[in-house]
């Protein structure tokens, strides 16, 4: 007498949001308190923004080439004098980098922008036609704006992942017991071979660097288990790109004129310091955090000591040490570039901060996660890099963003080593006898540029946070 039970079919979820009015009601005017808040907010914005818009846009001077354009026109109600910014825009962007060489900077930034995109928003570029489109666009742009030779550099750079992926390895080349050692040995050999032969054929310029790049390309062949397009792309981004950028910025090889770091400045310098700082501080920070949580007492003590020491001193003193005191620690006649020293200083300084952020995250990972990984046979480094750190990093994205933003803004302190970043150039511009009295414009402009970059970072961090957050909580 039992009945047949037929499950109901699933219905689609009803739509709850009904139009912009419904949205506004729900979000802005749902209660009297909310309404008051909304109105207050709107009037505050109005009160703040109107004068700003007047000063910055309506009353501002946009055309002209000299100081007179601003002073003659602005009789009693002077707006901003953007001419001041306009005539030294190049200076703000590139610092003292020689004018004819500035394309090198642009080129390097176009390269990195297009190369990093698929890493930054992997979901968007998951479809391969978008990848192709990206590469095609990049190459077209480069051909159009930079000419043939840069194109010849960029083409293999962008196409390599696709081409190399065809020959990607499913297995390791060398089946030995110590792939890393073998890989290192092989790369050293390749490096020597390439650089010696290049030197023999073309002479000195860039020989060692070419050798180095060859070695870096060879290394993963030996050390990695599988090579896929992704592996190649990371390799190009983390190994080859820095080399390309180095040669573009510094020159002195491949027919590029040497531009010493002394001439770097402006936004360019800001981005170089911030970019390398972030890229290097992050891994060091992770290692420090792991070290601080390690069971080995010496390593833990060292990490704690380092972190606490660094947190106790201002970055400016670190840079001061790096720039003027550091030579004292080296034997006579030995020295290396001041900017490099500053970069190292910045990297280690922020590494300590990032380590603390990550340590916080590590503390919140439940013990069960470690145990589960261990029970499955994961070894320490694998466990950390695949199971624990991904969870940790996702958890502390806001904190990491905080540090990256601080770092970007702290690049200003390279003034200590006598280099002028964006803000430094702006300050120096204030002392130009021909353009006295445009403090506001200089600062507003510098602030705006900083804000744009920082805002981009902070939005991106938000994007990551949401992306990883909704997934599992």
């Amino acid at each position: 007498m039992s009945q047949q039970w037929i499950p109901k079919s699933a219905q689609p979820c009803p739509v709850t949001e009904k139009g912009p009015l419904g949205w506004m009601y729900k979000n802005l005017f749902s209660s009297p308190f909310n309404t008051v808040l909304t109105l207050l907010g709107v009037s505050l914005l109005f009160w703040l923004i109107t004068p700003l818009v007047r000063w910055a846009i309506i009353d501002a001077t946009w055309v002209g080439t000299s100081r007179d354009a601003c002073t003659v026109l602005g009789g009693c109600d002077p707006g901003a004098c953007w001419v001041f910014i306009k005539v030294r825009f190049q200076l703000f962007m590139y610092g003292f980098y020689p004018e004819v060489e500035r394309w090198r900077i642009n080129f390097a930034f176009v390269l990195i922008a297009f190369a990093a995109l698929p890493h930054l928003i992997p979901d968007f570029f998951a479809k391969s036609w978008r990848q192709y489109l990206r590469v095609a666009l990049a190459l077209a742009l480069i051909a159009a704006f930079f000419g043939l030779q840069p194109f010849l550099v960029a083409a293999p750079f962008f196409l390599a992942p696709f081409l190399l992926a065809r020959f990607s390895l499913k297995e390791r080349v060398v089946q030995g017991r110590h792939p890393i050692l073998v890989g290192l040995a092989a790369s050293i050999l390749v490096c020597l071979a390439v650089s010696l032969s290049v030197r023999a054929i073309w002479g000195d310029g860039g020989a060692w660097a070419l050798g180095l790049s060859a070695a870096l390309l060879v290394y993963p062949l030996f050390a990695l288990k599988q090579l896929s397009e992704t592996v190649w792309r990371w390799n190009l981004l983390c190994v080859v790109y820095p080399l390309i950028a180095y040669f573009l910025f510094v020159g002195d090889a491949f027919g590029l004129v040497l531009v010493e770091t002394h001439f770097w400045g402006g936004l360019f310098l800001t981005l170089v310091v911030a970019g390398t700082g972030m890229a290097t501080a992050m891994p060091i920070g992770i290692l420090l955090a792991l070290g601080r949580c390690s069971k080995m007492i010496v390593i833990r003590t060292l990490c704690i000591g380092f972190i606490e020491l660094v947190r106790g001193v201002p970055l400016i003193s670190v840079l001061f040490m790096a720039s003027v005191m550091f030579p004292l620690f080296l034997p006579e006649n030995m020295s290396f570039d001041k900017l490099l020293r500053a970069l190292i200083g910045v990297a280690f300084f922020y590494a300590a901060y990032i380590a603390e952020v990550i340590r916080g995250g590590l503390q919140a990972i439940p013990k069960g996660q470690y145990e589960a990984a261990e029970a499955l046979g994961w070894t320490y480094w694998k466990k950390m890099s695949v199971i624990i750190l991904p969870q940790t990093l996702r958890m502390v994205i806001p904190g990491l963003a905080n540090n990256f933003l601080s770092l970007l803004k702290d690049t200003t302190l390279v003034a200590v080593i006598g280099l002028l970043d964006l803000l430094g150039v702006a300050k120096a511009a204030l002392a130009d006898a021909a353009w006295l009295g445009f403090t506001k414009e200089a600062y507003v402009f510098a602030g705006l540029v900083f804000w744009i970059f920082c805002f981009a970072i902070s939005r991106y961090s938000n994007f990551l946070e949401k992306k990883y957050h909704t997934n599992y909580r």
């Binding site: 047949q4 039970w5 499950p7 109901k8 699933a10 009803p14």
Partner: protein, 258 residues
Amino acid sequence: MVTEQKEVTADEDFIVISGLNKWYGDFHVLKDVNLRVKKGEKLVICGPSGSGKSTLIRCVNRLEQHQEGRIIINGMELNNDVKRIDRIRQEVGMVFQNFNLFPHMTVLENLTSSPVWIRKMPLKEAEELAYHYLERVKIPELAHKYPMQCSGGQQQRVAIARCLCMNPQVMLLDEPTSALDPEMIKEVLDVITDLAGSGMTMLCVTHEMGFARTVADRIVFMDQGEIVEQNDPESFFSNPQFDRTKLFLSQIISHNFS
């Protein structure tokens, strides 16, 4: 207690769920669920894994928002009114499937903090109460340990005791005996039936059919987000109406006696 503001006078029905629909994204978890629970009734919800049992009782507590349908508890409808939700929650206790003990408090603090902060009970009294329940579930010696230092079954008992300490009118139990050994199940059962005698309403999700049979006034069988069948335990076990229920029960029987 919550007496004012009765909107719907539903005779003695303490909990009324009507036309409840819930989606997780596009996934239709609860389909048109209708359920009435009388005051003091013990309801056992069973069904295969993933059938939406936990989701259903979480909806009663407003831990999940439903998209369609109404849930009325003690005459008050669950809606966006925060005050009301607060009041309802004070009267509706819940034991979670994965316990959710507060890891930064000792077992005793886990038990006393809610009576002290919410019911404004003097700490002394709250501690006495806590020890009382800890003794009932046989773990008074763990009072000063942290949850992470307790075994699975011990944690589960702490979770039950924590809920009892608030002396709620309704208890929602999500598999309250999953980590317990048969001996312990009996103890817990005793505690719960004691309370049942005192007129507490209970919604209990469980896979322990023995437990269900002993405790329940009525058994609700769910599958794929629907209520397939509900009946008193005797009829449910001896005379299931639907083939789905039969299938389910046959597995238990064969399993228990294999």
